[in-house]
């Protein structure tokens, strides 16, 4: 089993650096409304709930559940090792706050919707890619 695909890395910008570099401190970070505390993802210049423009960066627990997943078998790029698990993880802090990610440290046949997972980071300087593994 190939745990990780070949990674195309994100371009780090002022708007997304809290997300893509938080792993250096072992932290999963989101933009957060300073007034109503709604977590905002992807980053936006305004809170979609209360329209406040006063935003801050918040660290979440890194815990979530597998909302859905797929086992990818198709090598989309030359040299891409397959199969590997792509998942959408919903974080415990807010219903609907989800990340597309990979599940690692877990045999493919044991992946289940609803399974609890926790974040782990894979470093590709300067980026830290948030992946998820089973939480016991």
């Amino acid at each position: 089993m190939a745990e990780s695909p070949m990674r195309l890395l994100p371009a780090v910008t002022l708007e997304n650096q809290h997300f893509w570099t938080g792993g250096a401190q072992g932290e999963l970070r989101f933009l957060c409304c300073a007034l109503c505390k709604h977590l905002i993802h992807p980053p936006a210049p305004v809170c979609p709930e209360c329209l406040s423009r006063k935003l801050e960066v918040a660290t979440v627990s890194g815990r979530g559940t597998v909302h859905t997943y797929t086992v990818n078998h198709q090598p989309w790029y030359p040299g891409m090792a397959t199969p590997f698990v792509i998942a959408v993880v919903e974080l415990v802090e807010q219903p609907g706050l989800r990340l597309t990610t990979n599940l690692v440290n877990c045999p493919i046949e044991q992946v289940k919707i609803g399974m609890p997972v926790r974040v782990v980071f894979e470093n590709h300087d300067p980026v830290w890619i948030p992946l998820f593994e089973p939480a016991l």
């Binding site: 195309l8 994100p10 993802h41 859905t68 797929t70 078998h73 198709q74 790029y77 959408v88």
Partner: protein, 397 residues
């Protein structure tokens, strides 16, 4: 409230040669389709005063995704345009036709030529389908919405839609054996369409043992890239009375977007943005799903067609699996004939426009071997998946 789109009618129909790796100039394919549509309507190019297309000529995307743009066709045919619009941020590919309906309804144009050209088969050659960002080299960096999927090898809509199908399987007990019938029905219909790409029979056993792309999708759940162009003339009804071909009226359109336009943040991952477009379509008509005689629903991936069936109310939410199981209800002689030309899965990825083409063919009774029984009066054409979706309810005459 006047339903403004009822001022519009589809009066002309054209389609180029369709095939794998034709090696032809995509603008030449486009002109073939466009001139056929103008001629089919009984018009000349001097009558065409509007031009509409998806996704326009200047978009990035997979090689061959955009075949020709507004300026290419305007210049090639030296059209005198009072209105034109080409772009990609539309409610699905058929958004270009919905725009045209509005242009004729509001009087900005009398006869709008609409086209969509793909040449993905020639442009992508004989190799495997490439992921987004492929060929960018080591310096490629994902930005915009793609930054949230590409770093995880989720490089294709196949992955994103597969996860929606998996969630549907989880919540409603839908199975691969059920989903298969979108593909098997399409192939069954393609056998009667001389222009379809894959016409040989496909069995459930072949489907279940096919090469896995991204679970639960196998090869037959994914559409087939082709070269080809499809064109329509959309006319203001009062200018359409004496035209050559049987009139197809626009009863209502759906172009709504209420949920988040995102592959993973949409509120309900067992469906997609098409849910909102479908809801809007019925809100603008007194017709009901039971009135529809033929449904041509986007199947870029099999699961999208299942979502359209549910969203449009041909069955209940979550009941799509049992509804299509066995393929009788969606057969050409069934309750609601689906994708009578073979869909994009078997007839080729004409990217949305093929469904509207087939809906008009059926309402005109020109389907030949793949014509549905009886005299269909009402059809639906729907296109788009994921964050895009748009649909048209059509009537004969």
């Amino acid at each position: 409230m006047e339903v403004l789109e009822r001022r519009a009618a589809i009066t002309g129909l054209g389609q180029s040669e369709v095939g794998r790796r034709l090696g032809r100039d995509p603008l030449a394919l486009t002109i073939d389709a466009c001139l056929e549509a103008v001629n089919d309507a009984g018009l000349t190019r001097a009558d065409i005063d509007g031009l509409s297309t998806y996704p326009g000529g200047m978009v990035p995307g997979a090689p061959g995704f955009s075949g020709a743009g507004i300026v290419d066709v305007q210049d090639a045919l030296r059209l005198n345009l009072n209105w034109y619009c080409g772009g990609v941020e539309f409610p699905g590919q058929l958004g270009a036709v919905i725009n045209a309906c509005m242009a004729v309804a509001t009087g900005l144009a009398n006869h709008v030529l609409c086209f969509r050209t793909v040449w993905e088969s020639t442009a992508q050659g004989g190799g495997p389908r490439a992921g987004i960002g492929a060929g960018g080299g080591g310096s490629f960096r994902a930005s915009g919405p793609m930054q949230w999927t590409l770093p995880f090898g989720a490089a294709s809509a196949a992955n994103w839609i597969a996860m929606m199908a998996q969630r549907h399987f989880h919540e409603y007990g839908t199975t691969r054996e059920q989903l298969a019938w979108i593909a098997l029905n399409a192939r069954r219909n393609a056998a009667h369409n001389p222009k379809a790409i894959y016409r040989e029979p496909l069995s459930l056993e072949q489907y279940l043992s096919a090469r896995i792309i991204s679970t639960p999708f196998v090869l037959y759940d994914c559409d087939v890239p082709v070269d080809g162009s499809t064109a329509f003339v959309v006319s203001r009804r009062e200018r359409a009375r004496d035209l050559r071909s049987p009139l197809v009226g626009v009863e209502s359109v759906g172009c709504a977007l209420y949920g988040r336009p995102s592959w993973d943040q949409f509120d309900d991952l067992t469906t997609m943005a098409l849910r909102d477009a479908a809801k809007m379509l019925w809100s603008r008509s007194d017709l009901r799903p039971g009135d529809v005689d033929v449904a041509e629903l986007y199947d870029g991936f099999s699961f999208i067609a299942l979502c359209w069936l549910e969203a449009l109310g041909f069955c209940g939410k979550g009941e799509g699996g049992p509804f299509i199981d066995g393929g009788a209800r969606i057969a050409r002689d069934g309750e609601i004939p689906l994708n009578t030309q073979g869909g994009q899965l078997s007839a080729g990825r004409l990217h949305g426009f093929g469904f509207l083409h087939e809906a008009v063919v059926q309402l005109r009774g020109e389907g030949g071997e793949h014509q549905v029984p009886g005299t269909p009066e009402v059809a639906i054409a729907a296109a788009g998946g994921g964050p895009l979706g748009g649909c048209l309810l059509l009537t004969r005459g």
